[in-house]
């Protein structure tokens, strides 16, 4: 298997947690893994992205080449669009539709929606709302991970184990909330794909 993922969002939204969980799950499956991220000034409310590469054979580059990503996974709709040149011809976009507006010149929401709708393979819904309905809004990154999971060839049980591992120290309740968010995201994505 090989899954190259561009994870995107705004600093502080929690995309690195997604990377940590998938990384732990991949490790358990004995897969090769590379995950590049940017720290420092870029984190303060600016755009952040991480390249996550998982494969059953050795991986050369820490960065995904353009046109090579199987998935763009984003917590913010405009941030999903930022990385279009990286998407492969068969690739999917999985994104939250709730905008994070911290700049004056954020494009019209209708323009963002139209642009997303133009893409051939998209799973997009309001993950903040979904997270609120099953847990708290802070779990929207886990809804996103759930929504991306049908496109990643790692056993769901393995991912759930990894979620327990990552949140275990924060107590049973937080683990349960995050698992619930993950499952809700997965379900929502599956129903979109099969439509």
């Amino acid at each position: 298997m090989k899954t190259d993922i561009v994870l995107a969002g705004v600093g502080g939204q929690g995309i690195l947690t997604i990377a940590t969980i998938l990384g732990a799950a991949a490790l358990k499956e004995n897969l090769y893994l590379k995950q590049a991220e940017v720290h420092g000034m870029s984190q303060r409310g600016g755009d952040v992205q991480s390249n996550l590469r998982i494969s059953s054979s050795p991986i050369h580059s820490d960065l995904i080449p353009q046109g090579g990503a199987d998935l763009i996974v984003s917590l913010e709709p405009m941030e999903a669009l930022r990385y279009l040149p990286f998407l492969s011809s068969e690739g999917w976009i999985v994104t939250n539709t709730e905008p994070f507006v911290n700049i004056d010149n954020y494009p019209e929401m209708t323009a963002v929606e139209t642009e997303l709708a133009r893409q051939p393979r998209v799973v997009a819904f309001n993950m903040d709302e979904k997270a609120k309905s099953v847990a708290t809004v802070r779990s929207s990154n886990l809804v996103l991970l759930g929504a991306a999971s049908p496109f990643i060839d790692i056993d769901t049980a393995r991912i759930e184990e990894a979620i327990k591992g990552v949140f275990g120290a924060k107590g049973e309740k937080i683990v349960e909330q995050n698992i619930a968010a993950f499952r809700a995201g997965r379900e929502a994505a599956l129903s979109t794909i099969h439509k």
């Binding site: 705004v10 600093g11 990377a19 990384g23 490790l27 090769y32 893994l33 590379k34 995950q35 590049a36 991220e37 940017v38 720290h39 420092g40 000034m41 870029s42 984190q43 303060r44 409310g45 600016g46 755009d47 991986i59 050369h60 580059s61 820490d62 960065l63 995904i64 080449p65 353009q66 046109g67 090579g68 405009m78 941030e79 669009l81 930022r82 279009l84 040149p85 998407l87 492969s88 011809s89 911290n102 700049i103 004056d104 010149n105 954020y106 494009p107 323009a111 963002v112 642009e115």
Partner: protein, 532 residues
């Protein structure tokens, strides 16, 4: 993470002390040592240093006593540490000493793209440049041995993409024993007086040949044969991975992988002699390319950054490397081709900003209001989160150069007759390099205001301990600042008017004032709240 792999490698190789000042992308090295259970059990030194110069000197002192030490910093930190760094090649090392420099090509979080390999070169020091996380781990032990075998500190050069990229690393089962305290065989060599240095310099020049031989026998350098000799490729560090990526591992051309310097001359000679032309792929500045132009006088083509085939600034990527190969070897069929979708036209840039609830915001808000009363105020900024005060909505600073420069530039401006001359500096930057400059201003009672925006941490790099916490007023008064003009205020929205008035008063005072405006960083405050 590459940073963590290197730190763990060092711990498992018998490390006794880690010394550093935080700086992206090097910060996680010392942070890892602080958290590691073996390091804790062994009481390996891992307290933050005041700056990179003190860090290198402390590590050198440990090496003098025969123990293994690392010191880590970002590339511009090497400038701060340049004095002890270059001279440590003259003293040599006793216990293994690794000087880790994390370069930041593309300037993700830095003010320039300088390439630390040039420092190693002119200090005449070996340099290691891992191309992946496993090499970063392995190179710690290898580097200590190289250092002790040759009695020389060794630079380890990382770049952002390796420092901050994670992968699986195979580690040793048991950490090695630490060195026991023992003194250098030749203690005179550590006293760099001219008579001694002259002898040592000759020895170092001689030793350089041994360093070249080490590179030629290094497990990290190799020549990989290819069937097409129209082109030979020299790829260093992480650039090697991008090359392999764009050929899917099947490069038709001979490749020299370089991860240890000085350059392995025999491989350079071999690839030059057997190929029609050479392509140099290296992250950062054209270091190998420049060295090679001297080595190769037979007039074969050498393609690289100087000749324009490789992008000169920013980081390399699999895409830019593929484009380069396409240019210098048109029609090469082994290159992987992918369709690239067009970029979206509606996407706009999202620059970083000061966090909501950050005290720096209140300082800038009040300062901007106070300065409205003057015709031509100038505010000299410094390095840290508060550099973001340059951007909207504050547009509050006129300069940002290097650690500590806010104070000394404001002083120079005041000397030139600038009024008001205001310096704004963070607490950690102040103890890093601001104190000495403040002494200059105090000694001449320069007509300027220094604002220390104290958030009780090193915020930009994620909240490391700041060396001046709780001592700033004492430091300023101790340096000789007039206690009547060392003022303190809390940076809070409700104190906006008071802050503004305080700034106005001290700007109008003819002489040097220091204002310490204090409020805990919102990020560390949140973490502390969670802990409670």
């Amino acid at each position: 993470m590459g940073d963590e792999a290197l730190a763990l490698g060092a711990i498992n190789a018998g490390l006794s002390g880690a010394y550093a000042y935080p700086g992206t992308p090097s910060t996680e090295i010392l942070e890892y040592v602080q958290k590691n259970p073996v390091a804790r059990e062994r009481k390996i030194h891992s307290h933050w240093s005041s700056n990179e110069k003190t860090a290198v000197e402390e590590a050198l002192g440990m090496s003098y006593c025969g123990l293994r030490a690392i010191t880590s910093m970002k590339h511009v930190g090497v400038n701060v540490a340049a004095d002890p760094f270059v001279n440590s090649a003259m003293t040599g090392a006793n216990g293994g000493l690794l000087v880790i420099a994390a370069d930041d090509p593309s300037m993700h979080s830095s003010q320039n793209e300088q390439d630390s390999r040039f420092y190693a070169d002119f200090a005449m020091m070996p340099c290691l440049e891992p191309s992946n996380q496993q090499e970063a781990y392995d190179m710690a032990r290898y580097g200590f041995e190289l250092s002790e075998r040759n009695g020389i500190p060794v630079m380890v050069r990382l770049t952002t993409r390796l420092s901050h990229s994670r992968s699986v690393v195979e580690t040793d089962d048991e950490p090695m024993a630490q060195n026991k305290l023992h003194y250098p065989e030749n203690p005179r060599q550590w006293v760099l007086m001219p008579a001694i240095s002259k002898i040592r310099n000759r020895q170092l020049i001689k030793d350089f040949d041994a360093f070249v031989k080490e590179s030629e026998e290094s497990p990290f350098n190799r020549y990989e044969e290819g069937h097409d000799h129209h082109l030979g490729i020299i790829a260093s560090g992480i650039a090697y991975n991008y090359l392999m990526e764009c050929f899917g591992g099947n490069c038709p051309f001979p490749v020299v992988k370089v991860s240890q310097y000085p350059l392995p001359e025999k491989y350079m000679r071999r690839v030059y002699d057997s190929c029609d032309a050479l392509l140099i792929l290296e992250e950062g500045q054209p270091f190998i390319e420049k060295s090679l132009r001297g080595l190769a006088s037979e007039g074969k083509k050498i393609y690289g950054k100087l000749t324009g085939q490789v992008v000169r600034d920013g980081e390399l990527s699999p895409d830019s490397v593929a484009e380069t190969v396409r240019k210098v070897a048109p029609g090469v069929k082994e290159l992987i081709h992918r369709e690239v979708p067009g970029a979206s036209e509606i996407v706009v840039s999202r620059p970083p900003a000061l966090c909501p609830g950050c005290g720096h915001r209140d300082v800038y808000g009040a300062l901007n209001d106070a300065l409205k009363e003057f015709e031509s105020p100038k505010v000299f900024g410094d390095i840290g989160c508060y550099t973001l005060g340059f951007l909207k909505p504050f547009n509050a600073i006129d300069s940002c150069v290097d650690m500590g420069a806010s104070i000394t530039m404001a002083k120079g401006a005041a000397d030139a007759g600038q009024f008001p001359a205001v310096s704004i500096i963070g607490d950690s930057t102040f103890t890093h390099s601001g104190m000495t400059g403040l002494l200059d201003a105090i000694n001449e009672n320069s007509n300027m205001v220094v604002i220390i925006s104290d958030n009780l941490t090193t915020g930009m790099t994620g909240g490391q301990d700041s060396q001046g916490t709780g001592k700033l007023e004492d430091i300023c008064r101790g340096l000789g600042a007039d206690p009547a003009h060392v003022r303190t205020i809390d940076s809070l929205p409700r104190l906006h008017e008071e802050m503004k008035q305080l700034f106005l008063e001290e700007i109008r005072y003819e002489g040097l004032s220091v204002i310490i405006s204090r409020r805990e960083c919102i990020q560390t405050a949140r973490r502390h709240a969670v802990k409670k």
